[in-house]
Every structure is written in structure tokens, then in C-alpha cells.
């Protein structure tokens, strides 16, 4: 079983290298084959589609290398998930243990229920993105490297999900960081894009430093980097160690999952190709932060201070990002801010103690956000612009995309049958439970913490009540705002009058089908939670949150209905530009961080030029001047030279005589 998981990780990894190096070569090799295939298809109008398929598909080497391994990985991940479902027990496998002189670390995989399900989600989304990209990036000259990086990205995320060792996990974590840099900066010739890529890289790196040190703190305290062992030794660690370690890990979560202080890279990352946004936002990168915290959750349970910090971070990100999403003009930026907001729901779920609820929302969000982004890609290709002001009335011309994205928006807003409704209400219900501490205590005590190796049934300190209240209040308000912006985007993009002059038609099949297929999990994944007590929505909280959703969506609908030609967000008035710029946080960071750093860098450069360089150059110049003095004596007359030699000899002899 573990071998299958390992192969699932290695396949996209190999595909990345093969695609990068041999992709175009494979195209060349396949071209004659494709020609023969085309000839074998009998001519005729009925076979037009088959001939198109025969002409396009087999000759595209990079696409084959990109899609087939991920498809195989998806199958393997599905097999692993099914096996895990039938016989739920953690399975581990170690390739080798690397002796470092200090604490050894192992190249090992560990599959448990959550890991198997998340791995399956990653593979499915990656497969959808790869298939979609074949059409979306068809005319891109660097499609080969693009597809390779997407494969590498997938492999890295699978490594993060399945790794049984903290350091191996960190390797995947960092590879994802660098892949996101390359993919966001795919259109690097555009200045804004390359800046966005650098920003994403640097901001996530800031969090990664904390993450690495968090790993060190936990690993050194446990004398092992193996996740199962670390979690098993959590109860024996000192409280200070745990709080320090988990807070440092939270830095990594804030960076990768784009939570409040470090979230600013995510909206800018929209500069990359749309399928990459889908990949980053749905299944990889941003999910990694939440997933790792969920993986190491026992450590967090024993450090309620870290959970309180996570709760505050999540509450701020949740509401702030939702408000910012409301005011955006760019379809992709709306989705980007909604990602921050939805990830904050997961963070809030973790903060109030519902690990399964957070992971449930992670799965649901992965499905519907991939759907929304890929659908947005179809819309953007059809309209030729990212701007919502250029869209409108698309429901007639793009029916498949319209209905799929309707499901996606319903899931995002939390409208009942869709997945987001169930997962969001789980988190809100659990937050409500967590506001009553005696209940929390009992729940924690009765829940055996799945530590991988041994099962802990230790009573742990409870999450502070105020954190739960904060998460609950922010969650309910955000539900209203989320419904508002989802409705607004949906109405402005698909209803009203057509605003773009170009003939917006439905996207090609390769782009349309992944979107349509993703609509199925986005719709039904919520029902999977009905089997578990913890994940079943509760009536009271459901009604309250539905009230908020209806209020948010209804308000926007009423405003829009008054004049469908205008954007309902106009009511925000002067606050709109402020919200659109994400609370001007970029400007604040510019003043607080960027400018002082740039000033410091300039000072260093100045010192380097004026002090260090000047000393070196000055030495050279001085030596040359001294040499110029000596050069005067070189007049070309050998007799003078010899006179000098003689004088020197006499002086030396005199000196020797006098001094001895």
C-alpha cells in the first residue's frame, strides 16, 4: 500500500523532469505516429471530431507527459484511499534513515485517513488543471516547462501530504514555494508579473523561516523528526517548548496559507496563468499550511495559546478578506480574496478544536475553488479581460460554465445542497460548542488523538472561550459577506446585459469538461460528512448561518435588481477603493517594512561603495602614484642605474660595517 503511495508521489516528480527535458523530443517522435493515426481515420464529416482529436492529442509530447502520470497518480491515490477506508489504520514505510550525526531523519511516508483523502483531492485537482492547461496554454511557447512545473508542484504537495518525517515534509514545502514562484512568474516579461512572483516567494519565505525553526524546536524536543514519534512525545514536552514550536509553525501557516499578516502575496499571485491559480488556491500551496497544522494537531491542542493566536489570525483574515473580495473589480482577485477568507474558516475550525471540520472544509473548498478558478479561466478566455465590468450576460452564451460556476458560487456562499454549506456549518457549530468550555473539555477528553503510533487519551487544556466567540462572530459575519460577494460576482458576470464587444462563446471541450466534472464533487462532497457525528450540521446553527447567508445575498440581489446594469457594490461608496486595495495593507507594509529595508540596503550599498570599495581603489591609486615617483628615475641611461646599484652596495656595506 505504501509502495503505491510512493509511486503516486514519484510519478509526477519523474514527469516533471521528463517533460522538461524530453517533452519537445517526444512531440517530434510522435508526429509521424499521429499522421499515420490520422490517415487511419476514414475521411468524412462525421469523423471530424475524431480527426481533430487524432491530430491534436498524440503529437503534444509535453501534454502527454504531464497528464498521464498525474492520471496514474490519481488512480493510485484512489486505490490508497479506498484501502484506507476499508481498513483504517496508519500505514508507514521508510525507504532509508539518513544519519546526520545529530537526530537522524528518515525518508518515509505515512498514510492515514486524512492523508489519503487529501492526496486524492490533490491528484484530482492537479489532473483537472493539467487537462485544462492543455487547452488553455495551447499557444504558449513555454507550455513544456509550465506543465513540468505543475507536475513538480503536484509531486511536492503529495510529498507534504504523505510524508512521515518533518524534514522530508519541509523539502516538499520548499519545492512548492519555488514552483509557485516559477508558475506565478510564468509571464515574466511583464514587469508586474515578475514582481508578483518575487513578492509571493519572499512573503512565503518569511513564513517558511518560522516553519523551519518550528520543526527544529519540536524535533529537538522529541529527539526525532518522525511525525508519529514527535506527536507521541508531545504530552511529555514542556509547555514553553510546545508554545514556541507551534507559534513558529503558525508562521509557516500564515505564509503558505495566506493568513492575515502574510496574506498580501495571494491577490498579486493572480498575475500567473489561471490554471495555476486554481492549483495554488484549491489543492496545493494554500492547503498545505492548514493541512500541516491539522497533521500536527495534537501539538497544538497542548498549546492553547497558539490556538488562540490562530483564532485571532483566522478571524481577522476571514472578515477582512471577505470585505476586500466584495470590492474587487477583477474576477480572479475576488476569488483570491475568497480563498484567504475560506482558508481562514479552516484556521478558525482548527482554533476551536475541530480538526475534522477544518479538513472537511479543506476538501470542499478544494473542489469548489478549483471549479471556480477553472470556470473563471473559461470566462476570461471568452471575454478577453479579467475585469468584471467587461463581463455580463454570459449565461446564454456559456451555459456549461454558467451552471458549473453557479454550483461553485453556491458552495462558496454556503447555500444548502452544495458542499460549502455543510463544511462551513460544521465549523460554526463546533465554534458554538467551543464557547461552552465544559463541553469542550469533555469532547477533547473523549476524543482519542490519532498520533500515528500510539493513541493518546489524555485530557488537554481547552481553547480559550473568547477565541471561540471571536471565531463564531467573525464566521457568521463572513458568511453574510461571502454570500454577498458571491451573489454579486455571479450576477455581474452572468446576468444583465452583455458588456463586452467580442463574441463570447463557450470554451473548448478540454477546458469545459474539467469544469463540469468538478461541479459534481463541489455539489455532493458535503453529504459525505453526514456519516460522522462531528461533521453533521446542527439545526440551530444552520438556521442562524442561513439567515446570515440570505441576508447577505438578498441585500445584494435587491440592490442589483433595482438597476441590473450597475454594479451593486457602488453602495459601498467611498469605502470601496479602500477595500479594493485590501485595506491599503500593501501601503502600510510599504511604509513599515519595505521602505526601511530599502533604505537599509541603500545604506549598505553606500557604505560598500564609499568605505570598502574606496579603500581598495585608494590603495591601488596610492601604489600607482608611488610607482610614478620611482618611474622618474628610469631615464634610460644605464650608467645612472649602475651608479644607483653601486651607491646601494656601498650603503649596505657601510651599514653592515657600522652595525656589526
Amino acid at each position: 500500500m505504501i509502495v503505491l503511495a510512493a509511486v503516486a508521489v514519484l510519478l509526477p516528480f519523474a514527469a516533471a523532469f521528463i517533460g522538461m527535458i524530453f517533452g519537445p523530443t517526444i512531440s517530434h517522435l510522435l508526429t509521424p505516429l499521429a499522421r499515420r493515426l490520422r490517415r487511419s481515420v476514414p475521411p468524412g464529416a462525421a469523423n471530424g471530431r475524431a480527426r481533430t482529436l487524432a491530430r491534436r492529442l498524440p503529437a503534444n509530447g509535453p501534454a502527454l507527459v504531464a497528464v498521464l502520470p498525474v492520471a496514474a497518480s490519481t488512480v493510485l491515490a484512489a486505490v490508497v484511499a479506498v484501502a484506507q477506508w476499508q481498513h483504517p489504520r496508519p500505514r508507514t514505510g521508510t525507504l532509508t534513515v539518513v544519519r546526520t550525526g545529530g537526530i537522524p531523519f528518515g525518508l518515509s511516508l505515512e498514510v492515514d485517513g486524512t492523508a489519503a483523502v487529501v492526496a486524492l483531492l490533490v491528484c484530482c485537482v492537479a489532473l483537472a488543471v493539467q487537462i485544462y492547461s492543455v487547452a488553455y496554454m495551447r499557444d504558449d511557447p513555454r507550455y513544456s516547462s509550465y506543465a513540468a512545473f505543475v507536475s513538480l508542484f503536484t509531486a511536492a504537495m503529495l510529498l507534504v501530504v504523505l510524508s512521515g518525517d518533518l524534514l522530508a515534509l519541509y523539502v516538499g514545502w520548499e519545492v512548492m514555494g519555488v514552483c509557485s514562484y516559477f508558475l506565478i512568474g510564468h509571464y515574466w516579461h511583464d514587469r508586474a508579473t515578475s514582481r508578483a512572483a518575487v513578492k509571493a516567494f519572499l512573503v512565503t519565505r518569511l513564513g517558511d523561516v518560522g516553519f523551519l525553526f518550528g520543526i527544529f524546536v519540536l524535533g529537538l524536543a522529541a529527539h526525532s523528526f518522525e511525525i508519529g514519534t514527535v506527536l507521541g512525545r508531545v504530552p511529555s514536552m514542556s509547555h514553553t517548548t510546545l508554545v514556541a514550536g507551534t507559534l513558529l509553525l503558525l508562521c509557516g501557516l500564515a505564509g503558505k496559507s495566506a493568513q492575515f499578516p502574510l496574506h498580501t502575496w495571494l491577490p498579486d499571485a493572480m498575475a500567473g496563468p489561471t490554471p495555476v491559480s486554481a492549483l495554488i488556491h484549491a489543492a496545493t500551496m494554500v492547503a498545505a499550511g492548514v493541512y500541516v497544522v491539522a497533521r500536527l494537531y495534537p501539538a497544538f491542542l497542548f498549546a492553547p495559546a497558539a490556538l488562540a493566536v490562530l483564532g485571532v489570525m483566522a478571524a481577522i483574515s476571514m472578515l477582512g478578506a471577505a470585505l476586500a473580495a466584495l470590492a474587487q473589480d477583477d474576477l480572479k482577485r475576488v476569488l483570491a480574496y475568497s480563498t484567504i477568507s475560506q482558508l481562514a474558516y479552516m484556521g478558525g475550525g482548527l482554533a476551536v478544536g475541530t480538526r475534522d471540520g477544518a479538513l472537511f472544509h479543506l476538501l470542499a473548498h478544494g473542489a469548489f475553488k478549483a471549479l471556480l478558478f477553472l470556470g473563471a479561466g473559461c470566462v476570461i478566455v471568452a471575454v478577453g479581460s479579467n475585469m468584471l465590468s467587461a463581463m455580463g450576460g454570459l449565461r446564454h452564451t456559456m451555459p456549461v460554465t454558467f451552471w458549473s460556476m453557479t454550483v461553485g458560487f453556491a458552495a462558496l456562499a454556503g447555500v444548502p445542497p452544495a458542499s460549502g454549506f455543510f463544511s462551513k456549518d460544521t465549523i460554526l457549530s463546533q465554534a458554538w460548542h467551543a464557547t461552552r468550555p465544559e463541553h469542550t473539555q469533555a469532547w477533547f477528553a473523549s476524543t482519542p488523538l490519532n498520533s500515528g503510533v500510539q493513541r493518546l487519551t489524555v485530557s488537554v487544556p481547552s481553547v480559550p472561550t473568547w477565541t471561540a466567540w471571536l471565531v463564531l462572530a467573525a464566521g457568521l459575519l463572513t458568511a453574510a459577506v461571502t454570500a454577498a460577494y458571491a451573489t454579486r460576482t455571479w450576477l455581474v458576470a452572468f446576468f444583465g446585459e452583455r458588456r463586452s464587444a467580442t463574441g463570447a462563446g463557450e470554451a473548448t471541450g478540454l477546458m469545459r469538461w474539467p469544469v463540469a466534472v468538478l461541479a459534481v464533487p463541489a455539489l455532493v462532497i458535503g453529504f459525505l460528512g453526514l456519516g460522522s457525528d462531528e461533521l453533521r450540521p446542527e439545526l440551530g446553527m444552520t438556521l442562524v448561518s442561513l439567515l446570515f447567508v440570505v441576508a447577505g445575498a438578498g441585500a445584494v440581489f435587491l440592490v442589483w435588481n433595482r438597476d441590473p446594469a450597475l454594479d451593486p457594490v457602488r453602495l459601498l461608496g467611498p469605502a470601496r477603493p479602500f477595500l479594493r486595495d485590501g485595506f491599503r495593507l500593501d501601503a502600510v507594509y510599504d511604509v513599515l517594512v519595505v521602505r526601511p529595508l530599502v533604505a537599509l540596503a541603500e545604506m549598505v550599498v553606500h557604505t560598500d561603495e564609499r568605505a570598502v570599495d574606496a579603500a581598495v581603489v585608494g590603495t591601488g591609486r596610492g601604489t600607482r602614484r608611488l610607482g610614478g615617483l620611482l618611474r622618474r628615475t628610469e631615464n634610460g641611461n644605464p650608467q645612472t642605474y649602475i651608479s644607483g646599484v653601486l651607491a646601494g652596495v656601498v650603503l649596505i656595506v657601510l651599514a653592515v660595517v657600522v652595525l656589526t
Binding site: 610614478g628 618611474r631 622618474r632 628610469e634 641611461n637 644605464p638 650608467q639 649602475i642 653601486l646
Partner: protein
């Protein structure tokens, strides 16, 4: 015979040679002055060979070497002087200054 006489004569000869090398302008006279110095050395070698009287007579042997060397050196030197004269119509050492340092270029670097 006292050792002082030949040594003083050798010193005087050498000094005359040094003076000639440093002060004469005519290249041929400079060469001759070099010969004077060499012969001063030869005189010393012979005198001290007599004084120490070792079995192999190293001083005298070395003197023969120096004479041969001096002959070769004069041959080469005179050839150079002749060539210089043929090219420049002068053997004045003071005016042969092609090896001097170019001050302008040095300042520019």
C-alpha cells in the same frame, strides 16, 4: 712579497674600471673599463692563489675562466657597439636612451 701591494693595485684598477663604467660616454671605453675591472679581479685571484697555494690551484684556474669569459664578452660587446654605431652613427652612452620610461603614458594609467 707582501700581499698589500698587489691587492692595492687590484683595488685601484677596479676603481678605475668602476669610474670608467659610470662616467665615460664612449661605449668602447665603457667596455674597456669593464675589462679593467675583470683584470683587477684576475690579479686578486692569482695573488690569493699564491697566498693559499692549494693543491688544485683554484685561483689560477678561475683566472683562466675569467680571461676566456672576458674575451667572449668583448667580442659580443664590440659587435653590439658596432651595430649601434651603424644604426645611430653614435656610440655616446648618454644619448642611447630608448629604454627610458615614458612619463606621459605612466601618468595616464
Amino acid at each position: 712579497m707582501h700581499l698589500v701591494y698587489p691587492v692595492v693595485i687590484a683595488a685601484v684598477l677596479f676603481s678605475v674600471g668602476v669610474y670608467g663604467v659610470l662616467a665615460r660616454r664612449n661605449a668602447i671605453l665603457v667596455l674597456m673599463s669593464v675589462e679593467l675591472m675583470l683584470n683587477a679581479v684576475n690579479l686578486n685571484l692569482v695573488v690569493f692563489d699564491m697566498r693559499w697555494a692549494d693543491r688544485l690551484h683554484g685561483g689560477q684556474v678561475l683566472t683562466l675562466f675569467v680571461i676566456v669569459l672576458a674575451a667572449a664578452e668583448v667580442g659580443l660587446g664590440l659587435a653590439l657597439v658596432l651595430l649601434i654605431y651603424r644604426n645611430r652613427q653614435t656610440v655616446d652612452v648618454d644619448r642611447l636612451r630608448t629604454l627610458h620610461e615614458d612619463r606621459e603614458e605612466g601618468a595616464r594609467q
